[in-house]
């Protein structure tokens, strides 16, 4: 075994106690490698997420944070080249994106796309019913769904007028993000991955979105926040903070790690990464053998 327990232990959180050891593991990522076109982006991500946990993944642009979220949701542009992802004991990577969503994996997009002509209300209803059918529940008709959606709109303090518009079309950045959280409130995912949900939000919108996420977090669900900034973590307190660099998780800590990043910046991450890559280069021939 290499000497540095943080960098080389097979345990994802070697220096942290598992907060809820009895809670079931929802998502288990093992040595995940992925590329987009010919470019390798993820180079061995390890992460275990249990029910009731909130994880934050931080890191610079290009560190692989967003790729991780897209791979977990099954975006067709990304190819998994190694490793595994197990969701509630099932091989997640084998599932179509829609099946993952129905099974309870939710991705809140950094840039939700506009879909002209498709009514937001109808979209939300079809989506919610797909998840309900998967859970063995009855589909909601338009009237039942209206009732549900009006109740859930309160989670994100959204104007019902948004239901009448096309999906995300002409929505402001903040409105799009609220629409994402509304979808999350309707789909009731077990694992919610929120990719830079805080980007482009003013302080009020951030408070509403974070309030929504906190409201939806339960002991049975887990949240994976992908973010650049401490300010989201002021509003949503993570149990674990992971620092990503060059396609893997370089360091894992408690919520104080985010504060450290805020104060020290990412330069020390670069230094650690350089050291790690040096160590790997020395070690590589032996490991390959």
């Amino acid at each position: 075994m290499p000497s540095d327990p943080i960098l080389f232990s097979s345990s994802p959180f070697p220096d942290l106690p598992v907060i809820r050891p009895d809670a079931p593991v929802l998502l288990e990522i093992r040595d995940l490698h992925a590329r987009v076109e010919a470019k390798a982006i993820l180079k061995g991500v390890n992460l275990t997420i249990r029910a009731g946990e909130i994880h934050a993944v931080m890191g610079r642009n290009g560190s692989g944070k967003s790729t991780l979220s897209k791979v977990l949701a099954g975006h067709p542009s990304y190819t998994v080249t190694g490793g595994s992802v197990t969701y509630r004991g099932e091989n997640l990577l084998e599932l179509e994106p829609e099946t993952r969503a129905r099974a309870g994996v939710f991705l809140g997009f950094q840039y939700p796309v506009e879909i002209p002509g498709v009514s937001n209300l109808e979209f939300l209803r079809v989506s919610t019913n797909a998840r309900r059918v998967h859970r063995g529940e009855a589909e909601l008709d338009t009237f039942e769904f209206e009732d549900l959606v009006r109740e859930r709109l309160q989670v994100v303090q959204m104007d019902p007028a948004f239901l009448e518009r096309s999906v995300n079309e002409g929505f402001s950045g903040g409105e799009k993000k609220r629409n994402e959280i509304l979808q999350m409130a309707l789909l009731e995912p077990l694992v919610a991955i929120l990719d830079e949900t805080d980007s482009g939000l003013d302080i009020d919108a951030l408070r509403i979105v974070a309030g929504g996420v906190n409201h939806l977090a339960t002991p049975d669900t887990a949240t994976l926040l992908i973010t650049h900034y401490q300010r989201l973590l002021d509003a949503i307190t993570p149990d674990y903070v992971h620092v990503m660099a060059a396609g893997r998780i370089l360091r894992t800590g408690g919520k104080e790690l985010a504060l450290e990043l805020e104060q020290r910046g990412y330069d020390w991450v670069d230094a650690e990464l350089a050291a790690l890559e040096g160590a790997e280069a020395d070690r590589l021939p032996a490991e390959v053998a």
Binding site: A73, G74, H75, P76, S77, E96, P97, E98, R100, A101, R102, F106, L107, F109, P112, V113, I115, P116, G117, V118, S119, E122, F123, V126, S127, A130, R131, H134, S166, Q183, L187
Partner: protein, 480 residues
């Protein structure tokens, strides 16, 4: 899986209506001549004025050349290889449906157009045209109580020759264009609708055209007249069997609208489109034109074009009456090797005439889809207004979309507005819907029907859902 290739695969849904009804048919010999024109007319026991009309058209047609300005490519049509008259063998038209050959009823049943008393649609009267003849019209008597005439044009020629003589060829003259002249010479059947003054037609009217023979051309002629203050909503549907040869379909539709009257004409065209290599399919060369003769009259064309190997079609409005209104709402879907050159002409003649054009083209596979439209404002059309919107959606990266808008204005105070857009169903949009639990095919179909929403909203309620389903069918396929 959701690569552009997969999106392309999606659109290769087998054609549902490709069966042939095995029925004894009376056909005349191949080829076109003055004798053939006379033969058709005599088979139909037509009055002299109609034979004259046909002969004038035929003689003019001989002097004309097939138009080549459309963005369409196809081998030359051999007009001597076509049969110009084919009819299922039965004694003329039956007085009652019980006497109609059950095979024919079965055929229409299979097409989802039940004609028998028990099963027919409760609020839609249907005229069913099989190859060259109309075989049945439902609710004729009920409509007659309101003074509405609805039935085959052949019957109308016998029963109301004065109406036919007064209106036939007055909107689309027999020498209007190559295909209209051909149709005027050899037209076999079609529908005739007459809504008398002040009558709002109590039900939707619909004609269903079925081509059955492999070597027969279909040349139907439809004439709809709405007198002062009358209104009607009319829908035509079309299907054909799958043959590896091409069949010619050259129809003419004329609409006449008097003061304060309105006609809403909707088409769901699902002729056989040929296979994925472009073998077979209908050549659809259609002239549709309506004339708003009266003040405050209105014509609204709505078309959903999903079939045919070649579509050449420009439903138009001549806005003569003051304050008259023309509308054109179109969805044209092409796939595989299909080619469509379709659009409209809005001819503003009278003052304060208004027109709206909304065209949605969807091109998939290796198909080509062109919008071609003319907005013409004459010198007397003071205060005329036009709004045009032409949107194209591309599926996959092999399809083509073109827009050819022509605007001619001789009236400085007219307002003409044109908007155009092109979009592609993007992988990110599909992924977004999928990541919300919506399957790939449903996601594509949601986006396509969203794209067409403005047009579908114009269809009569009973058919809007049909059209949505038809597009979904055309887009459903082998994935998953």
């Amino acid at each position: 899986m959701s690569s552009p290739q997969a999106v392309g695969d999606l659109v290769s849904q087998p054609y549902k209506y490709g069966f042939v009804t095995d029925i004894e048919t009376e056909k005349i010999a191949k080829g076109l001549s003055e004798d053939v024109v006379r033969l058709i007319s005599s088979k139909k026991q037509e009055p002299a004025f109609l034979l004259d009309f046909r002969l004038r058209a035929y003689r003019h047609w001989l002097t004309m050349a097939e138009p080549d300005w459309a963005a369409l490519g196809y081998p030359p049509v051999d007009y001597q290889e076509i049969i110009y008259y084919a009819a299922p063998k039965q004694q003329a038209k039956k007085a009652s449906l019980d006497e109609v050959d059950p095979k024919l009823l079965e055929t229409f049943d299979k097409l989802g157009i039940p004609l028998s008393e028990q099963k027919r649609l409760s609020n839609v009267a249907v005229d069913a045209v099989f190859d060259s003849v109309s075989i049945a019209t439902t609710y004729k008597e009920k409509l007659a109580e309101h003074g509405v005439i609805f039935g085959s044009i052949s019957e109308a020629v016998k029963e109301h020759p004065e109406l036919i003589e007064r209106y036939l060829g007055t909107v689309v003259p027999s020498n209007d264009n190559y295909f209209a002249a051909l149709n005027s010479a050899v037209f076999s059947d079609g529908s005739f609708v007459f809504i008398p003054r002040g009558v709002e037609c109590p039900m939707e009217l619909s004609t269903y055209f079925r081509i059955n023979s492999g070597d027969t051309g279909q040349f139907e002629r439809t004439l709809i007249v709405a007198e002062e203050g009358a209104s009607v909503s009319y829908l035509e549907g079309c299907t054909a069997p799958m043959f590896d040869t091409n069949q010619l379909h050259a129809a003419v539709v004329e609409l006449v609208v008097l003061d304060d009257a309105s006609i809403k004409y909707s088409t769901v065209q699902n002729w056989y489109a040929g296979d994925e290599n472009g073998v077979g399919g209908i050549y659809n060369f259609v002239t549709k034109r309506g004339q708003c003769r009266g003040a405050r009259s209105k014509i609204s064309w709505t078309q959903v074009e999903t079939g045919s190997a070649i579509t050449w079609k420009y439903p138009s409005c001549v806005l003569q009456g003051a304050d008259s209104v023309g509308e054109f709402y179109s969805v044209a879907l092409t796939n595989n090797r299909q080619q469509a050159d379709t659009g409209t002409k809005m001819i503003h003649v009278g003052p304060r005439t208004r027109s709206t054009i909304v065209s949605k083209g969807i091109s998939a596979g290796h198909s080509a889809n062109s919008y071609r439209g003319l907005v013409q404002i004459g010198p007397k059309a003071v205060g005329a207004k036009n709004y045009s919107q032409c949107d194209s959606m591309l599926i996959g990266d092999q399809a083509a979309a073109n827009t050819y808008p022509y605007i001619r204005s001789q009236q400085p105070q007219a307002a003409v507005e044109h908007e155009a857009s092109t979009c592609r169903i993007s992988e990110d949009q599909l992924f977004y819907l999928q990541s919300r639990g919506i399957g790939f095919e449903e996601a594509v179909s949601m986006m396509v029907s969203g794209f067409c929403r403005d047009v579908f909203n114009q269809l009569p309620m009973e058919f809007a859902a049909e059209a949505d389903k038809l597009l979904a069918l055309k887009l459903e396929g082998s994935v998953g």
